[in-house]
């Protein structure tokens, strides 16, 4: 569905991603993991068509992303930035309705379909009960859920979410991940950046571990989160277990001077 083909991104002379390949299929949740500074956000922005690529190409259903018209791309692809916020004190509902902008014709009031999509997104993210409150009055975690609802309101076929569960309580983390699974089940392709390895292992079909400007490991979560990989990329030793058929990965201690790893 969405594929990165030999993509290289430079900031000035510094290479951030080098000849990276990644393919996202319809109906799957791909977890993008990796240490701080590995280039997860850069890759996600490149996949959203927000960055110029020095080499390589992003393709959406075979079509090169940079040749697509922004508006038609926006109807298909939603991007949820990391730590996003609202600059004005819009009400929750108005903010979530912004997610419908690519679908609305100019000057027209929201249609029945727009209203329904917003109502559903509000309910799914458990923010419907403060629909008429200004976003600025909500707590950080509540605001994160509202922004998630904004991205879902567009009913995207591809969702690129940058740390959507950071700062959420365990209950709402499970809610959001379950919603992503549900969206994937309806045929969407999803890339989600995350740091919680257990959550990643439990809810993602595949993981892509970004390290050293490339995808260092890719595939089923248990394979990617092997003791060897965690030591090499994160510089940690972890407990591997399982409960109710799901994997558990809990980092226990540094294996070495792991600080060097992020820049390796």
């Amino acid at each position: 569905m969405l594929s990165a083909q030999a993509v290289s991104v430079f900031f000035g002379d510094v290479p951030i991603l080098a000849e990276l390949d990644l393919e996202i299929a319809a109906g799957e949740v791909v977890g993008l993991i990796g240490p701080n500074g590995a280039g997860k956000t850069t890759l996600l922005r490149a996949m959203a068509g927000l960055l110029p690529l020095q080499y390589g190409e992003m393709r959406l259903e075979g079509r090169p992303l940079h040749r697509m018209d922004r508006r038609s791309l926006a109807r298909v692809l939603a991007y949820l930035p990391q730590g996003g916020d609202s600059h004005w004190a819009l009400t929750v509902e108005t903010l979530v309705m912004l997610g419908r902008l690519p679908h609305r014709s100019p000057w027209a009031a929201p249609s029945k379909a727009d209203e329904a999509a917003v109502a559903q997104a509000l309910a799914v993210c458990d923010v419907a009960r403060f629909g008429d409150r200004p976003v600025t009055q909500l707590s950080g975690g509540e605001r994160t859920r509202v922004l998630m609802a904004r991205a879902l309101a567009g009913e995207p076929k591809v969702l690129l979410a940058d740390e959507p569960v950071a700062g959420l309580d365990p209950g709402h983390q499970l809610d959001v991940m379950a919603k992503l699974r549900e969206l994937a089940a309806s045929g969407a392709g999803i890339v989600v950046v995350m740091h919680d390895l257990t959550l990643a292992a439990r809810f993602c079909d595949r993981l892509a571990l970004l390290f050293g400007k490339q995808i260092a490991a890719e595939g089923c979560p248990t394979k990617v989160l092997s003791a060897d990989m965690l030591a090499r990329c994160y510089g940690v030793r972890a407990y591997h277990g399982s409960v109710e058929g799901g994997a558990i990965v809990v980092p226990l201690e540094r294996t070495d001077a792991g600080a060097d790893h992020a820049s390796a």
Partner: protein, 341 residues
């Protein structure tokens, strides 16, 4: 969860009937501007003058003095309110105002130059034409300096650079003025006023202002999207580079034309959007029309006030808006601080 309660809730967030009420205020202020002045002219006579085509002195005063003045007040007020709201939305900063992108300062400098060279004395429209030429040069420089990437920060920096350079040049011209009277004349003009403007000024500036409005009023949706930040706005399908170009061109057209015929009238473009924002539920798109109407009403009322406050030696409109605007803005700051704490 049905759509019906959602609809009801959204209506509640904006003050009901805001636009009709504002339009009513503009109408009232416009009428007051026609009725109030040094010459006592009643409602009856004003209406006669406007529609019956009388040729007496009173009719001439209404048609040739008060009507163009009121029309300019309406046009300029709407310009300042609309462009202020658009700029605040784009920069996502409630402190932005129409003068920020350097157009007002360069228009002022262009006008000042026509005083200095004596062109202003040769024919009446030299002054506004000079102002427009200044605005054009200013906006070209700002666009070139700001680069092509649609970034708000580079726009602010380019605007500040052009504003300070134009102000320095205007100061230089004042410095070199041949005599104190010439300098005083320039100073007075810079203060901003609607007094003694004719229909020539209206015809000259109105097309540019309306063209600028048409560009700015279409920016509502991209400005709404920018509430979520630049990356989110772009992935919602908006081209930020095009947005900024339209914003700068629209502001340059209407603010450049407004400054060219009336000088710099401060604080309207800053205070009006600020005041009306809570009443439209903080939505940048809804703020555009509301702020245009609010600006028109405020400038018309302020222009009536200068006539009432100091008949004879009239207070300059720009001086009054700054005198009232600055303390008012302080009040807003204090209130905002209290809300934040």
């Amino acid at each position: 969860m049905t759509a019906a309660p959602a609809l009801r809730r959204r209506r509640r967030e904006a003050a009901p009937f805001l636009l009709p009420l504002l339009a009513l205020a503009v109408g009232g202020a416009f009428a007051a501007s026609l009725l109030i002045g040094p010459a006592a002219i009643g409602l009856r006579e004003v209406l006669d003058a406007l529609w019956a085509g009388e040729v007496e002195t009173t009719a001439l005063i209404v048609r040739e003095v008060r009507l163009p003045r009121a029309l300019l007040g309406l046009l300029i007020g709407a310009t300042l309110g609309l462009s202020g709201a658009a700029l605040q939305g784009f920069l996502r900063n409630p402190l932005a105002e129409p003068g920020l992108i350097g157009v007002s300062a360069s228009a002022s400098f262009g006008a000042v130059l026509t005083f200095y060279t004596g062109l202003a004395g040769l024919f009446a429209l030299a002054l506004p034409l000079g102002g427009m030429a200044g605005a054009c040069v200013g906006v070209v420089i700002v666009q070139a300096l700001a680069g092509r990437d649609g970034n708000p920060l580079t726009l602010i920096l380019a605007g500040i650079a052009v504003t300070s350079f134009a102000a320095a040049l205007a100061a230089l011209v004042l410095n070199l003025a041949p005599n104190p009277f010439a300098a005083l004349e320039i100073m007075f003009w810079l203060m901003g006023s609607l007094a003694d403007r004719s229909f020539e000024h209206v015809w000259l500036s109105a097309p540019f202002m309306v063209a600028g409005w048409l560009l700015l009023i279409t920016l509502g949706r991209p400005l709404d999207a920018l509430t979520l930040g630049e990356d989110a706005a772009r992935t919602l399908g908006f081209n930020l580079r095009g947005l900024r170009s339209r914003l700068v061109l629209g502001t340059a057209l209407c603010v450049g034309a407004a400054t060219s015929v009336a000088g710099a009238i401060g604080f309207v473009g800053l205070v009006v959007p600020h005041l009306l924002r809570p009443l439209v539920g903080h939505r940048p798109s809804a703020l555009l029309p509301a702020s245009a109407l609010g600006g028109a009403a405020l400038v018309l009322l302020a222009d009536v006030a200068v006539r009432l406050l100091s008949p004879g030696r009239e207070l300059k409109l720009g001086v009054l808006t700054a005198l009232v605007g600055a303390p008012f803005f302080l009040l807003l700051v204090v209130r905002l601080r209290r809300e934040l704490s």
